[in-house]
Symmetry: C2
Subunit: 195 residues, 2 copies
Amino acid sequence: MKTPNASDRRVQRTRRTLREALIEVLLERGWEETSVQHVCDRADVGRSTFYTHFADKEDLLISGFEDLRKALRDQQSAQDSTRALSFARGMIEHAHEHRRLFHAIIGKRSGHVVQQRFRQLLVDLIREDLAALAPAGPHLDATVHYIAGAFFELLIWWLDAPRPLPPSELEQLFHRLTAPVLVALREHGRARRRP
Amino acid sequence: MKTPNASDRRVQRTRRTLREALIEVLLERGWEETSVQHVCDRADVGRSTFYTHFADKEDLLISGFEDLRKALRDQQSAQDSTRALSFARGMIEHAHEHRRLFHAIIGKRSGHVVQQRFRQLLVDLIREDLAALAPAGPHLDATVHYIAGAFFELLIWWLDAPRPLPPSELEQLFHRLTAPVLVALREHGRARRRP
DNA sequence: GCGTTAGTGGACATGGTGTCCATGATGTTG
DNA sequence: CAACATCATGGACACCATGTCCACTAACGC
């Protein structure tokens, strides 16, 4: 069977069921210990059916990342986004709200492709934010990756902590640590424009 | 057979051969595509022998991490380590010298446990450096992880770049971006000591 | 040299992957 | 509403990797 038609009810139902089952199994077993088998069993869906929709378990999980992205955009436009890196609030709150899920997805028991994708998501979000502050080039690239890595590790640390800070404090912490980095970037940009 | 005696010539030879074979296969196939089978074939070592020495391929790779750590310490003590985060120079030079290997080990084609361990190595190194700057607590922890994540992502970005900066520039960049973070940490430390 | 210990290689059970197909079930369309 | 196209099913198949075991042989240390 070739790429099923997404507008068909059956297709939508199957995909939704599989995504939900993935999350359930993920929460119970962690990423590495989750197999396509388990997900299909939980979803009560034939394993052959799985492969007509997704290439593998990573493909399935990543298909849900778009939802996160959209949620972040909604949250972001519904507040004053005057501050740089305003995605942080939404992301942190989202992670707080779905703490166990986030922990399973990006935490220590996750898989590398998934982490890779998540970090790429961060890099994209941050690059959008910083594009206005400095001219494109290796310095901007480096700063974007610097901040993305910092945020990612900070988030994992926070998700792993036994008694984590409240979300607002984490956000504050992140902005306090990152503000001077942005200042440095801006200065660098100005310096290069008027050497 | 139980834990073989490490002083036996045969044991040393077998382990060394396996480590070398792992690196070879790793460079050719990347982490995920490397199996215990492949490594044993390349090393010309029985697969059952592998399991008397290492639990799995991760165990084998990580057994080589201690060498890196030692190399870094030697390099670090052989220079003025007055500057905070002086490990960075050694790490960057090391990564530059073994670029392809580092790329395979911690880059995009790596495995998550390996990355995990490497990040833990960074966290440990940075915590040692920063312990003197601020009192222990969540703020110090957060900063340590922040910097570790930033350095890690910066390193991967650098290893992935088609035309990478020279190592000295990367080091400079890292220190320029991180200096203000350290200042903030110190100030925070002073503020809490004299509230 | 001799007793001990490590390496060999093949067998075995287990479990996951990805593909394929005939069949039955369920939408969609005219 | 009926006919047809499409999807889901579940079982079979070939494949590959894992981890354990064991009887046999080779190499080491003392």
